[in-house]
Amino acid sequence: MSTPVLEVRGLRCSIAGQQVVEDVTFSVPATGITAVLGRNGVGKTSTLRGILGLIHRRGEVTLAGERIDGLATHRIVQRGVGYVPEDREVFAKLTVAENLALAERQRNPRRDFVDALFPDLVQRRAQMAGTLSGGQQQMVSVARALLNDNRLLLVDEPTKGLAPKIVTEVTDALLEASKIVPILLVEQNLEVVRRLADGAIVIGGGRVVHTGVAREILDDDDLTRRLLGVHAETAPARRGEEGSA
């Protein structure tokens, strides 16, 4: 078992004095996609933002063996963390090309890889990001994180609010990406989780309440209902390249 790319121990986060993450401990393996699951408001997004230092946090966070919990956000990102935030957060008044250029940190960004993954964006290079559709903005957001040689991607609800066809495109892209970089994925859409995730971490009340193999958790209806408050998708467990119906 290789060393985990990310180790979080006793993470506590607060926003404007409010405690939003109580005590979270987990590890992210160096390959594949690890999902972070939980009901609304339990602190999934805050966990990601805490890891990045975007909100006030305490605890130990180790990236590829180095402690990053005392660093400023930009330094953490420079160490090789890509971030795809909830709500995409592309810069509306910049063009697609500028949005991507802004993200490039290295001399030889993975241009070809990204262009191959998102051919639509190549055509729209000069378009203002604010005029893109939700799905296209999501592509920009993901592309940004893939341009650099990152050690880990933090991806927050990438399929939120997107039409099913776009959801498939986004998950396809993430699947491709996971071949070259491990991903920590917060996701509410359990079908997507079933398709993408290897491991899963379930958060409840600001703490980790369960870890395991994603598929196993989702196959266990009782467990799923207890932890996530919803029925798992009744579609048969199928993980692979074919798109969902």
Partner: protein, 291 residues
């Protein structure tokens, strides 16, 4: 008719002056959410130093005039950079304290200027052409207004070029929209903060030297009244929007001149009314982002 032309053109000229001061304020606020009260002090110091330089070289020459503007820009940039590094940066993210610190600086700076240069306004002179007028459609326009307009246009062009064509400019444009996302892309925004302060300071410096020629005197309080108008312009134009500041500058100044000419000197008052109206109708300003 000539009165109309005079009012209009002087309005645009005055707007040019407001823009020089407001552009920096707008950028600084847009990126850093700091209301820089010390902006007036940058302006005043630049004027004083520019004046000293012009005096050395002979105030009547164009060379010394242009040099004093350049010096003013440099002094403004330097003062602003120093302020950002020493006072603003240590208070990272504490916006109210940052505003207060600039308030304290303006307080102290004005007092210091009075101590150094005295409380009485000092009459200044420049190239004689500035005191003359040019006739346009029957109106006699004092030539200082042309200089103001040219300077503002150049500064605006330079700023737009910088913002659109350079990486730092791109970072600033993105930062004005969403600062935390910029840091989440691995970019140290603090460098941009210093840069934006320096740019704002330079623009204010140019504005200071030109304001001095416009009013024909320099004093420790030169920056203070201008600053208030600059604030008003920034709010009306929309905080953080350079184009908004440009439009609002002209709008406010033209209105002010019209009120002064046709409504019996109520220009200052009308400006505040305009501010109130804009706030009631569109609180985020003409081109500001909706909060």
């Amino acid at each position: 008719m000539s009165m109309l032309v005079l009012t209009l053109i002087t309005g645009v000229g005055l707007g040019a002056l407001y823009f020089l001061v407001a552009s920096g304020l707008s950028l600084i606020y847009g990126l850093m959410h700091v209301l820089n009260f010390a902006h007036g002090a940058f302006l005043t110091l630049s004027a004083f130093v520019g004046w000293a330089v012009a005096q050395q070289l002979g105030t009547a020459s164009w060379g010394s005039f242009l040099l004093s503007i350049l010096v003013g820009a440099l002094v403004g940039a330097a003062f602003a950079t120093l302020t950002e590094l020493v006072l603003i940066r240590p208070l990272y993210e504490r916006h109210i304290e940052q505003v207060l610190v600039t308030v304290g600086l303006s307080f102290a700076a004005v007092a210091l200027f009075e101590g150094i240069w005295g409380t009485d306004p000092i009459n200044i002179a420049g190239p004689p052409w500035l005191k003359q007028t040019t006739e346009v459609l029957g109106a006699r326009i004092p030539n200082t207004y042309w200089v103001l307009m040219i300077a503002a246009a150049l500064v605006l062009a330079a700023l737009v070029l910088f913002l659109q064509k350079t990486r730092y400019g791109m970072v600033i444009r993105a930062g004005v929209e969403n600062r935390s996302m910029v840091t989440a892309l691995g970019i140290d925004v603090r460098k941009s903060f210093t840069l934006v302060f320096a740019i704002g300071g330079a623009a204010a410096g140019i504005g200071g030297v030109l304001a001095m020629h416009y009013t024909t005197f320099v004093s420790a309080h030169l920056g203070s009244t201008l600053l208030i108008f600059a604030f008003i312009v920034t709010v009306i134009g929309g905080l953080g929007s350079l184009t908004g500041a440009a439009i609002a500058s002209v709008l406010v100044a033209v209105l002010q001149q019209f009120a002064n000419s046709y409504l019996g000197g109520t220009g200052d008052f009308i400006v505040v009314i305009l501010l109130a109206v804009v706030l009631l109708v569109r609180p985020s300003g003409i081109l500001g982002r909706k909060a």
